[in-house]
Amino acid sequence: MEYALSVKDLRVSFYTRRGVFKALNGVNLELRRGEVLGVAGESGSGKSTTGLAIMGLLPRNAKVSSGSVLFDGRDLLAPLTSIRKFSTGRNESAIRKLHRELAPIRGKRISMVFQEPMTSLNPVLQVGYQIAETLVIHNPSLLASRKLARVRATREDTTALLKVIKENEGSETAVREFVESRHLKGLEEQALFIWRRNDINELRKERLILDLCCEKVGSTTKRLLESLEGGMGITKAPVLSRLLRRVLFKEGYRKAVEFLSTLGVPNPEKVVQMYPHELSGGMRQRIVIAIALINNPDVVIMDEPTSAVDVTVQAQILELVKDLKRRVNSSFIFISHDLSVLGEVSDRIAIMYGGRVVEVGPKEIVLKAPRHPYTTMLINAIPTLDGREIRGIEGEAPDMRNPPPGCIFNNRCPFAMDKCRKEEPPSYKVSEDHYVACFLQGGK
């Protein structure tokens, strides 16, 4: 089976003044291509730590004692696991190395959305800048060809393009072929975006598409853009790179506007000029989602993207995620402590407890016929609209400085046996695709 990403036996501890907290104790997760994997569990069960570890964004007091994150045939966490004896200094330099190594991947092939929309955007930078930045860093040649396409295209080209669009009713392949035949790559997404807008009339659309031509740029800028398009990086020469960046950011804003409007942001032209504090929580979360998705990454990790927003906004965002799942071919890890939210968006659900995945399987099975005692109890604790009786889980989560030996749930599990206090239960396959880490499922 081919996975978009897989996490193997990940163990992470946090070194703090009050002791060493064992946050992850052997997490195994596989993310399939094109799926939404939901991750649930109570607070402190290690959901965010798992997400941060995949991104290589663990804080400096975190030690990765074993395990790997396999992506595209390489172990992303190799620099961290190579540290043998923990010290913050050593960890710090390993983390710096990790940032250097992963920067080209982050935001381009794997990206992440954080829980707090209020704090995850930079307060002193315009929203459009923050979106455009991701493009300028990872995809400057796309921006260059978009801009160059408008420079190269003649009125005759756009007239013909409009005809192609109209004849093929906006079919993507036809437009792409046409654009390639005329060496105007970069024009297709701009034209199709305009064509698909529904807030303006045909006449206006035609005008806008016809206007995608005959732009003028200075000869230096043009040369710079052409070398970028040809695969050279952004030049290092100070004045030139500044000039080029200005042009690229401007184009990035333009693409940001297009992208935001596909995410259902009203008035995107205005929104990109705003600062984060001028936007509501739901809108900011959309911006963060736009940043994560604009480069078409293979893997998107969403850490509680709806936990800090209202029910109605939550519904809007869940709708958006469902829609994205249909439209883009990324794979998603969707973290939430709310199982009913996961029920809405996921294909499979993994349940975490005490830094381990205790149950994972198809959504319907995990929610309707759970096999791990913790999952069952978790589901019974959730109030629902029909007002059925709920039951809390007795006892407290274990102290992760000193987790109980054996099954980590044994101090709260009503079925705990002697064996549970001595051995760690392995992951049993209970049915196709359904795995449970509990001795009750073994030997059957």
Binding site: L57, R106, G107, V124, H277
Partner: protein, 351 residues
């Protein structure tokens, strides 16, 4: 634009503050009764009938027999006209405005030089210290800045004089220039250079590079002392706020979208970290002015601080009040400027 409206409004709010400041100075003048005022305004070299005539004229001019608030307005009118009274100290006697015109440029030049040093040393060091937190370099910066922070400014001055001036003999540490160099210069007499009263600039204007170089060397130690006194605070605040910023979610997001580390620090973190430091810079200016009094005294540098000390030592009412007014005005206007800078840097400020 909105920012202009904000500045205009901020200027309007300034009026009551200015009225307050001037009123306090006025009240101080009048606290000692009319004699003090006469002492302030009448050229002390007058005596006999000339003096009496002057007293009568002044009483009429300042309306000293009128109620106090009326007097205030007349006094204010005088102040606005530029009549700030007289000062009489060993280093200068004449009108207060003249004294200010003479001494201010020197203070300004060492303060600006110090501010520049703080800016170019303090910010990179603070950022460096936070980014390389707990490294050897960071520890060195922290220990040094803590040492400086806990040292009174005159100790710093004495230490620098001993080390660089007396022991290594690389820098001069008294006055603004070697007097031998300017003894025959036409644009310099009685310790005053013309036209700007800033020796360095005047020397450059007249193309006298030897004097310019020497004047510059004389500026280094006082400025450095002044800078070191304030620098420690700037580094500490910047390091702390940079560390706080580096822990924010938006830094995590910047990394999550693949921003290279250098840009994370320089673009995403630094501007946010500097914001609280801007406010701190307001205190810095106060610190610089307070420091200037000490530093100018120690280095015999004829600036406002030096003059103020002289005025204090000689019970020179005009000088004391004049420098109070000047210091007050400087503080008020720097806080205005900093507010505007802050509003400009931080989009969250509503204006």
């Amino acid at each position: 634009m909105r920012l202009w409206i904000y500045i205009a409004r901020r200027l309007l709010i300034l009026i009551p503050t200015l009225v307050g400041l001037t009123f306090i100075v006025f009240a101080l003048t009048h606290a000692g009764g009319n004699n003090l005022i006469l002492a302030e305004y009448i050229n002390p070299r007058l005596s006999g009938p000339a003096r009496e005539e002057a007293v009568a004229k002044l009483t009429a001019e300042l309306h000293l027999n009128q109620p106090i608030y009326v007097q205030y307005f007349y006094w204010l009118a005088e102040v606005l006209k530029g009549n700030w009274g007289y000062t009489n100290t060993p280093i200068f006697s004449g009108s207060v405005t003249q004294a200010i015109a003479l001494f201010m440029p020197n203070t300004l030049s060492i303060s600006l030089f110090a501010a520049l040093l703080i800016w170019v040393i303090g910010i990179p060091l603070g950022v460096f210290s936070a980014v390389n937190r707990d490294s050897v370099g960071d520890n060195a910066v922290r220990v040094t800045s803590f040492g400086l922070y806990s040292m009174p400014i005159y100790l710093i001055a004495v230490a620098l004089i001993l080390a660089l001036g007396v022991y290594l003999k690389v820098l001069p540490f008294a006055g603004v220039v070697n007097p031998l160099l300017v003894s025959n210069v036409p644009w310099y007499h009685n310790g005053i250079s013309y036209p700007t009263h800033i020796l360095l600039i005047d020397a450059i204007i007249h193309g006298d590079w030897v004097v310019a170089g020497n004047a510059f060397l004389h500026m280094i130690l006082p400025s450095l002392t002044l800078a070191l006194g304030v620098l420690a605070g700037v580094i500490r605040i910047l390091r702390a706020s940079m560390l706080e910023v580096l822990d924010q979610d938006y830094i995590k997001l910047a990394r999550a979208k693949g921003v290279p580390e250098r840009a994370v620090y320089n673009l995403h973190a630094r501007r946010n970290a500097i914001l609280p430091t801007v406010t701190f810079f307001g205190y810095t200016v106060a610190g610089l002015l307070g420091g200037a009094v000490v530093v100018e005294e120690v280095f015999n540098y004829p600036g406002i601080g030096y003059w103020t000390t002289q005025a204090l030592l000689n019970n020179d009412v005009g000088g004391i009040l004049g420098s109070t007014l000047v210091f007050g005005l400087i503080l008020i206007f720097t806080s205005l400027i900093l507010d505007i800078v802050y509003a400009f840097l931080d989009p969250r400020i509503k204006y």
